[in-house]
Amino acid sequence: MTVVVAGVGIHPFGRFPLSVAQLAQTAVTEALADAGVGFADVDLTVVANVGEGMAKAQRIAGRLGATGRPVISVESACASSAAALLAARDAVESGHARVALCIGVEKAPRGYIAGAGFESWQVESGVGVTPIYFALQAQELLASTDATVEDLAEVSVKNHANGVLNPNAMYRKPCTVEEVLASKMVCPPLRLLMLCAPNEGAAAVVMMSADEAVRRGISRPITLRAVTVATRRPGDWFVPAASRLSDIRSSPTRTAASAAYDEAGLGPADLDFVECQDTDTASELLAYSDLGLCAHGDEAKLLRSGDTQLGGRIPVNPSGGLLAKGEPLGASGLGQVHELVTQLRGQAGVRQVSGARVGLAHVMGAGHVSAVTIMVAG
């Protein structure tokens, strides 16, 4: 059964004097209106969030209506949104839900993301620090390819330039390579402007079967062609593992991307644009090769070619990415889906990717969770 996205909504990402439920309400109201359905039509609600406590999904969805239908909570760190998409997609595909709603919402504290699945000894002894992982990954990229720290800065410049064009982004100021390289060192070689900042925001997505969309007269549904979620294989290394195997190297993003291309019957050459997990600028470069946009070793070459800029052959993070939007953990992936739908409908205004028909979204979170979503216009 073909599953479509019939509606999307977003609360801008940033810092707000609002509760988690208030942030979510804005996004959900917009998504339901966009799809032309009410909360009473929703058979399953899936809430993606990291930081809230017990019964959070019911608290967040509770202000939308008391329908008696299932409301469930999923958490997979920065990939929480993808877990929600997977659950909702499967419910619609199997016929258990005619209409499913995904809500991603977060009010993340400032600073390093703490408690990312580490054991207490890792945190106490000073090795349970998330930027260490991104910094070591960046060091290995710099040592094993021709990528330079200037390339790491250029990714930030590109995404911040896109963020200027996105009213939902937190940081809407352009920056220069010099400014990035003069920003505060966090974990060498990564500086403050090469890392995304955890923040607040919400996004919501309404899904249904293609038949249901036709029945409801929805004019421009976007087809969900693949949703895949991968976790650790022996050659992977990510937060929060203290150790890794030294003789084999793989990546959960490669696993998720390969499965997604299979599921969609499409390949990297079919993509018109990509939204990827730019937790830090080296992570974006590594996503280029892991998603198959180039061979490993050619990441900096692809960046320097201008192909991944807005207006280039395969724009990456036309929304500004997490570097410009900030990262509300539970909401970031659905924020990407919001961007995919907006672009695929041709409604992205000044940041529109011309002729966008196929888009890919990628998130990566603690616990070696990587997820890929592929969507197609029509």
Partner: protein
């Protein structure tokens, strides 16, 4: 030299006759099925799930990559700044993350530098592992 365990849920080294500064050998679980090592040692192979037995790995390794932590992290009891390295234990085919003593400059221990594993006293008195040149 003393063999020590990483207890995977409690902060660490049980002090089986060792003290700060002493060289130690870390215990890993060796898998009879796939032949791989896992660290911390838990008795179960992290890669294939088979039951394994604890064996000590080499007391020194080679730096694969390094960085530094310059700003305090919530929950950490060690003082910033400090250097962190991914150390390669060739025989066990494992890379392990650890704090490096004696320098606050990651460039002072470039890839290929050999570091030893030692017992180190955390600010609260508990023993932990660290790397030193």
């Amino acid at each position: 030299m003393t063999n020590v365990w990483l207890a995977d849920e409690l902060v660490w080294i049980d002090d089986r006759g060792t003290s700060a500064g002493a060289e130690v050998r870390l215990n890993a679980t060796h898998c009879p099925e796939c032949g791989r090592f896992s660290i911390p040692a838990t008795g179960t192979c992290e890669w294939c799930g088979a039951a394994g037995s604890d064996v000590a790995i080499a007391a020194e390794g080679e730096v694969v990559a390094s960085t530094a932590v310059l700003h305090a992290t919530p929950g950490a009891i060690v003082e910033v700044p400090y250097v962190v390295a991914l150390l390669r234990f060739e025989d066990a085919k494992l890379d392990l993350l650890g704090r490096v003593l004696g320098t606050d400059d990651p460039d002072a221990i470039p890839p290929g530098t050999r570091l030893r594993v030692v017992a180190d006293t955390l600010p609260d008195g508990r023993l932990h592992y660290a790397f030193v040149q």
